[in-house]
Symmetry: C3
Amino acid sequence: MTVEQKLADLGFTLPAPPQPLGSYTAVSEAGNLLFISGQVPLVNGKLVYTGRVGEQRTTEDGKHAAQLTALNVLAQIKRHLGGFERLHHIVRVEGHVSCIDGFYDQPAVLDAASELFAKALGEKAGHARSAFSHSQLPANATVILVVIAQIEPAR
Amino acid sequence: MTVEQKLADLGFTLPAPPQPLGSYTAVSEAGNLLFISGQVPLVNGKLVYTGRVGEQRTTEDGKHAAQLTALNVLAQIKRHLGGFERLHHIVRVEGHVSCIDGFYDQPAVLDAASELFAKALGEKAGHARSAFSHSQLPANATVILVVIAQIEPAR
Amino acid sequence: MTVEQKLADLGFTLPAPPQPLGSYTAVSEAGNLLFISGQVPLVNGKLVYTGRVGEQRTTEDGKHAAQLTALNVLAQIKRHLGGFERLHHIVRVEGHVSCIDGFYDQPAVLDAASELFAKALGEKAGHARSAFSHSQLPANATVILVVIAQIEPAR
């Protein structure tokens, strides 16, 4: 089953990968590593989740934001590599959650992204993770994911 | 002298490496690099330092939190590599300190971790570093360290 | 035209690379990657921009701070590699902006750094980027840039 089919089974479709929000490239390659620019829950050029978990947003909103952001990560990888064959594995996920002071369950929000990677990518999903809390994020996004992946050499 | 002996001379013992706090792996390998998940000052599954430096915590508390966190980084490396022989060097330490507004001495707090690495690992400790200030961190931890290390190929 | 000449055309000169602010090295090498410690807008050992964009600092100040910080990144690369010949490309720029709540245009501030890299380095400048907002940064700096670069093997 392809990554796209697995996502469809979960009710997700891969979006068009978002354009960078400034003077940089969406994805940068260095040897066997792929560095993906910070992704936000953009769908069709529009930020679907803004604001803080615990205030304008619930934990469930945060989880959905994390899933939409993870889909953008996958879309960037797919565009850059022309598919998922050359993806070796997701190496690291850095997850940033906009939330109120006193909300400490960033891991629950980010698990929604990690679990989406696991279901879509299987063994290629295994990653180290770091979680951070912010009183706000650029563009007032609810979630940012910064991902590093390992890739196979081009043939 | 082994890393463990050097730590013992400083009054430290390597803890059992903490379990991930969510759906990810503690350590992820990519070629010659090791990406260690964000570590916090957990001892025996319990967070020893929570709260902000300058409020519930002193700078000295922050330094001790940084040391305990550094021990968890070393414990993760040891479990993943089966020892420190294959560790080439600590490449980068990203240090996050929970503190009040107006506390600017994150470098002093993080030096406690960098110096522990230096004493335990000698020449393998040399690393670039970045320091950040947060009004809170996940699980209300006082310190998070995110570490990248270079490793030697397995024999 | 050399990097230094291109910078001179823009009215910039490469500074002496700042000393680390703690017990770490300014730059750490791992295989084909160069990890540069977090840089701030230091000139001659003095922090030129402190405080928050939207409060003590304007967006224009933030952009200038980002440019001065980018110059320090280039100065660290030059000192470490002995020039820019062995620089393959800037792989990733992580940009942190100290600002008030409600200021969401971190990308505009960081574009000043990305565009300086583009003008000085040409094709070697292409990078992925992530942007973050902070209520304060260590030493009260207005901007921090954390950069990873790819390098060519030494001859």
